[in-house]
Amino acid sequence: MSEPTTVLDEIAEAPADHYRVLKISDLDGDKLLELSQFMKLSLSKEDMLAVQEIYKEWDREPTDVELEVIAQTWSEHCKHRIFGATIEHELEGEKETVTSLFKTYIYDVSKRIFDTKPGFVLSAFHDNAGFIKLDDELAVCLKAETHNHPSAIEPYAGANTGLGGVIRDILGAGKGAKPIGSLDVFCFGAPDTSMDNIKADDVIHPLGVMRGVVRGVRDYGNRMGIPTVSGAIQFDDSYIYNPLVYCGTAGVIPIKDIDKKVGPGMRVIAVGGRTGRDGLHGATFSSAALDTESHEEDQQAVQIGNPIEEKKAADFVLAARDKGLIEFITDCGAGGFSSACGEMLEECGGTINLDNAPLKEPGLVSWEIFISESQERMVLAVKDDSILELQKLADLYETEMTDLGSADGTGILKVTHHGETVCKLDCSKLHDAPIRQMKSKWELRTEPVEAPILESPGETLKEILSDFAIVSREPIIREYDHEVQGNTVLKPLAGATGDAPQDGAVLRISGSEHLMSMSLSLLPEWGKTDPYAMGAACVDECVRQLVACGSDPDKLAILDNFCMGNPDDERELGALVETVKAIAAGAEAYGAPFVSGKDSFYNYFETDEGPVSIPVTILISGMGIVEKPEHVTGSSLRKDDSVLCVIGSTKSELGGSVFARRKGLTNATVPETEFEGAMATYRKYYEAVKEGLILSAHDVSEGGLAVTLAEAAFSGKAGLDIDLCSLPMDHDASKAAILFGESPSRLVIEVAPENLEKVADLFEGLPFACIGAATPDHGNLRVEWGKETLIDEPIDELKSLWKNGLAQYY
């Protein structure tokens, strides 16, 4: 016999074929940590000591299966321990203690909003996705997730399974919601990044990451028949090592099918793909930082998706739901069966028999079967007498259905394999993971910055329209089927020529008079200087876009998806805390509650020149209700005789703007958002929409007013004669700030001349001005300042720069 060589061999009791009992009671902290690292549990020394304590109380030793289950349950990915941590936060020298960012700023804030709008939010935070009421019969939901680490290592497969996973979240929301639309948001290094600027081995060039990720999303979404309708891309050097891939999906469900419950005696069944060694340790892997070795070692945590397997399972689930055969359903995501069954049997308890799990290959040991994250699997709890009918449906849709076990009312999660009990845990005892104690600190480093003299605003506009932050995503959008299901009313590209950008997407919902809108915002560039301003502006932009495309401003819900680098770095965590405070303030002011959210940490990379972290990046995505098809409002100019108005104030703030970045103004003041005034204008705007007074509306965001005007004109309907003298603005605003500043809460609206007076009356007392008109006489964007011509450029030329900016790289 050979000598024990690993910590695992040292402490394992008589080796069984498929599981082992591990003697941890006598190990010290360091040894426990070594064990955690060896087993890739991603548990800290404190966590391992807490585990040891739990088993001391139970007076026994854990099995490897149990340790794996605890590691999954306590992983950052599943438990959000940083959002639950106690944080000593310091802002500009002022100290405060934040007990749980999630509870204080997300949950409690949303709960207060729910109370002011009874019956609007029908489910939030506890299910796979949050639901809002669409009409008396139907509800809609939205969920977004990240799949950053897998996409860094294997872009195609990472993004592929990222979308596949969030689609399963929707299928597992309520008793099974129907996925009806997806969004994708990416953060990459610039496509023209020089290889010399990549300071570590085995890192995939941003262009390779982009192409792989887009194809991954394309091949999953298109094959599933779910339109990818909304998206964004940010390019920045800080994402070279840690690209971000957000995937989101919306769904619809009959309200009566939202509530689900497991009861004793129900069968637990699995449906869909088989279980294999692929996707081991995904949840714990995504809760750690990347390095060059990750590219070599962690391949098994990334899988290739099989959308047709998922499509068959989806057809089965929706048919079974409609027949009333599902009592409870959830998807196998991070943590595989262990998370899905754990969640399902959390209160009721029950037994899972791993011998029944259909495997891709023989020889898997117990813990591998239980935590494998093999794709395309759903777990259901059903009544015993539904099994026959369910089996018929599974045969009809050609998906594999397996009886895994049953719920029993004991409150204990029992797992058996080869006739032995390999895991026996009281799940209620596992939720007290040690609360992390953390420190954070933030101080602003802005300085007064002199706005540069604009030599040639027309040339600057061309430069900005060609910037990666602004250019058309058309080559990517066209690779996604954004019209399957036949309900995409407001498409990502629309207007008279079918290729102009829109603020959001609007989907018709079969069986309802109402429609659903989707939109999103992320502004990482702002956050580098002022994370609070970033958070506030993201909520504002998302809300504003939803309202712009015709949503009722009082029927919106939003999602928060955070990504950040190293939470153990006080300044990075400080930026996160400030962002969270801001989105909470925004949500409360707009009455737009959070209904779901997710976070991704450790997006930093050990390069040859030290660690590189991403900036704190918040994606706010949102959904809204559009009452009638006539309210749907696009962003493209529709007439050649209409007038253009601006709603909202333009401030002398250039910080965070594309202009500032291009001109090297790094610490300029980033715009503040004044929520109350903004909400008043959004409500007025909605009144105008309901009265049929708005032809089109485009939000002023990245690139500023000049870019907004150009984009509106890309429909090719008319030229524009604009004079900015009467624009509502700060008296000291520079020309640069007026044309290219990114003050939030502004919209450019198009109104028929005969309606101008009515619209102006409506906005009485609010920042509003008519700034010009569309004209059939020429095809230019002509922007004047009294007698001075600032911009006079052919719209065709501007459009061609904008349209080809990314196309040449994709």
Partner: protein
Amino acid sequence: MEERPCAVLLKFPGTNCDAETAHALETVGFVTETVPISALKPETLVGVSLVVLSGGFSYGDYVMAGKLAKLVTEQRIGDTLKEFRDNGGYLLGICNGFQILTQLDLLPEGSLVENSSGRFQCQWVTLENKAPDSPFLSQLPETFEFPIAHAEGRLVTAEPGEAAGYLESGAAALTYTEDVNGSFEQIAGLQDETGRVFGLMPHPERFLRRGDHYDPDWGGDETWGSGYYLFRSLYESVTSSDENE
């Protein structure tokens, strides 16, 4: 009482446009039944006027698009679809359904291969109605728009001359007004000699209503999109041939 004609939609694993296609058919007057391929039997088509193969990715289309769907269909019902056509039945294939009809030899010879762009293309295209007498196109104008969404829609024939022949014979019922995907002779849709079998790459079911158009100021019909008129043409052809029986 008026009896509404029945349309059966075949659903393969990966078919994903069946719901909206069924909705379009019902809107113009058909009764529909969606039949998963595992349940398809020769008897399924008794009393049925129209068989529709809707869009999607049957079996993932990882081998040539429509190939596996053809094999499974033949395995399950042999030549029943050909008999169905010979007995006066109508067959419509949209996108992946067009690819499958081509594989099943129900349409003039040709293959739908990868677009010349090498990409999936989701966009609106302008089409020319080359067969105004077709039961599928009789109510459509000379030119109209439909959206496309496919990676493999380039129609090629073994001999390039064959495609030109399709234009002359009238088999090429629908063409793109410009080169969209490299299709020979810009062919977008084919019909067989009977006129009752029709396949097209564009998606008429996605332009059922006016509001489906990308341009809110689209100059067409007040209520319906062009796709409605394809299904409406078909409905009227089916009901008038039912009456003649």
